[in-house]
């Protein structure tokens, strides 16, 4: 902030750092210069001409979005000449615009509508017939209506620069110019829909939302995406209990407006016709609907019997909330008196916490990924498996010139901008040695590692990090929306919430995931929001199986009692993302008949006369804040939709290492475990299901915009 320049906008003396663009300097002074094409974080386009302003001693109107402020500059943003220019620009933009606002998706939240309302003329001098072009469908998700387009290039730039995909361009010129997709008449891309959300008008619309509702008819609920572990905030548009759309146009949350195809369009599992809406009980070899009262009573009775003499196995979820996981493990340990509790572990978080023993500052937050001077990715196809994490690193490289290194077994999209090295699984450390010199030269580093690095490998990795000299932070890449929370909340046979050993409480570690499924004498298997029998077999033939899930999964089909669970979009609570950031879930839609897992566990507790007293997510979260190390996060941050970093680091973690249990889900951009199978949109796009470490030559994936980086304005 050394060099401040002094200038005048609309008679007000203003100061701004040298090099600030006039449009941003005015904004900081509280003066809005209207613009369509200018967009924070994207390269300058100066295509729309809306931001023309008068600068004294300059003969013509100047483009406010590309003009850096200068000492002594005198600017008028509201002179008669400027107002006339804006009217003229809008008149031109409307030359061929169909003005079909009454049926347009964007009507009511359209930037063109707002601009014409505020700055436009009431009349047009054009009497020529408007050029009409029929709308086109480029994919199940992306539709394009050329006449509505104002050619601001936002979609072209977000796709090329922001996502690094570059699937959109401009074809033809003049009045015939229009946005074109990369495959002639269709798109082959990430199907993320960033182009649709960033469109200031209704030119790009989505197959999910188009012509379904008006924006003001929906309630807008900010919650956290329930697919991968990156914890993107997504704002659900809910009408009459149904989700109509998901986006994050208000840029709140750790992800700004980033969302991938899963966050924007794969919410449709929620209204899948196969959603369970009634408890089911096995009778005569078949699962038949039954009332909640009978179902809960049946399970409570059976659990009460078995806890006296029998052996339980409890498998928790990677998708349920922290509160539900906390309550489940405390119910299992205290009410069922079993230590046999686990979940599908997709990353060895416990080993990382152990290896760091006590270094709370060594866990990277989501925000760190965008600001770190350097990042190293090991054994992950980041752009596929961790879309938002990859977006953070790519944009750190693009906007902040962060360095990115990657050690992967096959081609990854990071190859386009990072220093990458191939290493077969098990040979990552040899590859790391070849990078040692470069890594040691970095002033700080974030290391992100996939499931191939586990157990002793993590200890070795931390030793490697320590040997570099500079401060190193770590991210243990996990796969599902609350994998990290499941681990942090003690869904582990040997660890209580916050990675305290069960031995601290005088208990012995119980059976783990594989041991539960392999135990011959298991009397009850309680599966909450997981589908272990999709890949594994259950050895114990006589076990009483209770499953809480959204769908009749492979596991639920084997159950004696199935309890229909609410999805993450239908509950309040918190989840912890891959970097340990806690964020709040808010209930949007409702599914008749389903209950949250918190409610179900509470009902069971009451039925078994073991009421814990904590029934609401808020009450349980208070207990978590008080008792789980590292989770004493500020409520104000969580309640206002922010992300609060947790650091459940508590010295050494005494645990039974079981690296064989760490199994990556291997999800691509277009798969999401069992949940993804119930999303029609996710399965309909041509890119689905995709593949990890695929050959980039076969994909439309090329880094665009990297060569213009030097001119790019950094976000203010």
């Amino acid at each position: 902030m050394a060099d401040l320049v002094n200038f005048t906008i609309d008679g007000r003396a203003v100061q701004a750092p040298k090099g600030t663009l006039l449009i941003n300097a005015a904004k900081q002074a509280g003066i809005q210069i209207p613009a369509f094409c200018y967009y924070d974080g994207l390269s300058l386009q100066a295509a729309c001409r809306m931001c023309l302003v008068e600068v004294e001693k300059t003969p013509k109107l100047q483009v406010g979005c590309t003009l850096p402020v200068a000492e002594g500059m005198v600017v008028h943003t509201d002179s008669p000449q400027v107002r006339k220019a804006r009217k003229g620009t809008l008149e031109f933009l409307l030359t061929n615009h169909p003005l079909d606002c009454p049926v347009c998706d964007k009507g009511g939240e359209c930037e063109l509508q707002d601009m014409v309302f505020r700055y436009g003329a009431g009349q047009s001098r054009f009497i020529e017939p408007k050029i009409h072009v029929d709308e086109k469908q480029w994919s199940p998700i992306v539709f394009y209506d050329a006449p509505r387009c104002i050619l601001c290039y936002r979609c072209v730039r977000i796709c090329g620069e922001g996502l690094g995909v570059g699937a959109l361009g401009i074809g033809n010129r003049g009045a015939a110019a229009e946005i074109v997709p990369n495959r002639g008449d269709h798109l082959e891309c990430d199907e993320c829909g960033a182009c649709i959300d960033i469109c200031p008008v209704g030119a790009l619309t989505s197959g999910t939302y188009r012509y379904k509702t008006r924006p003001w008819e929906m309630e807008h609920v900010g919650t956290i995406c329930t697919h991968c572990s990156n914890g993107c905030k997504t704002t659900l548009g809910v009408r009459n209990g149904d989700i109509m759309r998901a986006n994050n146009r208000d840029r709140s949350g750790v992800n700004g407006e980033f969302l991938c195809v899963k966050g924007r369009y794969a919410f449709d599992f929620n209204e899948h016709p196969e959603r369970l809406t009634s408890p089911l009980i096995r009778s005569g070899g078949e699962l038949k609907p039954i009332s909640w009262a009978v179902a809960i009573a049946t399970v409570a009775k059976k659990f009460s019997e078995i806890r006296r003499v029998g052996k339980f196995g409890v498998i928790g979820s990677n998708h349920t909330s922290n509160e539900e996981n906390f309550l489940l493990q405390s119910f299992a340990r205290q009410v069922l008196r079993t230590a046999n509790i686990d979940h599908h572990r997709t990353g060895d978080v416990a080993a990382l916490i152990d290896a760091l023993h006590g270094r709370t500052a060594a866990l990277a937050t989501t925000a760190d990924l965008f600001t770190a001077k350097a990042a190293l990715v090991i054994a992950s196809d980041l752009a596929q498996e961790q879309p938002f994490v990859a977006f953070q690193l790519r944009n750190n490289a693009r906007l902040n010139r962060g360095h990115v290194y990657a050690v992967t077994p096959g081609p990854v999209r990071e190859d386009n901008y990072a220093t990458t090295t191939r290493a077969e699984p098990g040979h990552e450390f040899e590859a790391l040695e070849t990078l040692r010199e470069k890594l040691a030269a970095e002033s700080e580093l974030v290391i992100l590692f996939g499931a191939a690095i586990k157990g002793d490998g993590i200890r070795r990795l931390v030793q490697f990090g320590d040997s570099l000299g500079a401060p190193v932070k770590y991210v243990c890449l996990v796969d599902y929306s609350n994998s990290r929370g499941a681990s942090d909340m003690g869904l582990l046979p040997g660890l209580l919430p916050g990675y305290r050993s069960v031995r601290e409480e005088g208990l012995e570690p119980g059976l783990n995931y594989d041991q539960i499924l392999a135990a011959r004498d298991l009397d009850a298997l309680w599966v909450v929001g997981a589908n272990p029998l999709s890949r594994n077999t259950l050895t114990s033939a006589g076990a009483f199986i209770v499953v809480q899930d959204l769908f009749l999964t492979e596991t639920a089909r084997r159950a004696h009692v199935v309890l229909p669970a609410a999805s993450a979009y239908e509950k309040n609570g918190t989840v912890t993302n891959v970097c340990g950031d806690v964020q709040k879930l808010s209930r949007g839609p409702k599914t008749m008949g389903a209950k949250t897992d918190l409610e179900i566990v509470s009902l069971l507790a009451r039925e078994m006369n073991e009421d814990s007293g904590a029934r609401t997510p808020e009450q349980v979260f208070e207990i978590i804040r008080r008792t789980v190390p590292g989770y004493n996060v500020p409520v104000s941050v969580i309640e206002t939709g922010g992300a609060a970093a947790t650091a459940p680091v508590n010295g050494r973690v005494i645990h039974e290492p079981a690296p064989e249990l760490i199994r990556s889900a291997g999800n691509t951009l277009f798969t999401s475990g069992t949940l993804g199978r119930y999303s029609n949109m996710l399965n309909r796009v041509m890119e689905s299901p995709g593949a990890l470490y695929h050959d980039p030559r076969k994909a439309p994936i090329m880094e665009q915009g990297s060569v213009q980086m030097e001119e790019l304005q950094r976000p203010q």
Binding site: G166, A167, L168, G169, I170, G171, N172, R173, V180, N182, P700, M702, Q704, V707
Partner: protein, 166 residues
């Protein structure tokens, strides 16, 4: 995709003419030179130029859509371009174009069935002082009247047309 040795030399020089990382600047001249050799811009050429310049095929497509001198379909052996912009129009450019269209039986950007001649109505070619002007491939012809035009077309058909020394 293979090109003549001479064209390859030109490409090599082109790619060397821009600072490192800015090879996309070579897209337009590469397309123009290659179009002269191949006859038009094929999809194969688009992909080849994209590969050599480090951009996506879509970015090359954008350039082709923008510049009217790049053609997706083959033109005639002789591409006749008639200016109807303001200076030429003032001295009979439009009538000349209409005459050409009628006598050659060609619409805008159409090619004769024998592939010899193609016709295009173009904007100003910078020959206003000698209007009306036409261009046959890269050669200019000045003060063109319908009669002179007919003689020129006859020469193209007879094979007696002499390229101007360049």
């Amino acid at each position: 995709m293979t090109f003549s040795a001479e064209l390859e030399r030109r490409f090599a020089k082109l790619l060397d003419s821009y600072p490192s990382g800015r090879q996309r600047s070579a897209v337009v001249p590469m397309l123009l030179y290659a179009q002269d050799e191949i006859g038009c811009v094929t999809q194969e050429l688009v992909e080849e130029v994209a590969r050599r310049c480090g951009v996506t095929p879509l970015q090359v497509d954008e350039v082709i859509g923008y510049y009217s001198m790049l053609h997706r379909k083959p033109l005639g052996k002789y591409h006749v371009q008639i200016c109807t912009n303001i200076a030429c129009q003032a001295v009979g450019g439009e009538q000349l174009y209409e005459h050409a269209s009628r006598t050659l039986k060609l619409g805008n950007k159409e090619v004769t069935s024998d592939g010899l001649i193609s016709l295009e109505e173009v904007e100003c070619m910078g020959a206003c002082a000698w209007a009306p002007a036409i261009q046959v491939n890269y050669d200019f012809h000045h003060f063109v009247t319908p009669e002179r035009f007919d003689n020129l077309m006859q020469a193209l058909r007879d094979g007696t047309y002499q390229r101007k020394a360049s």
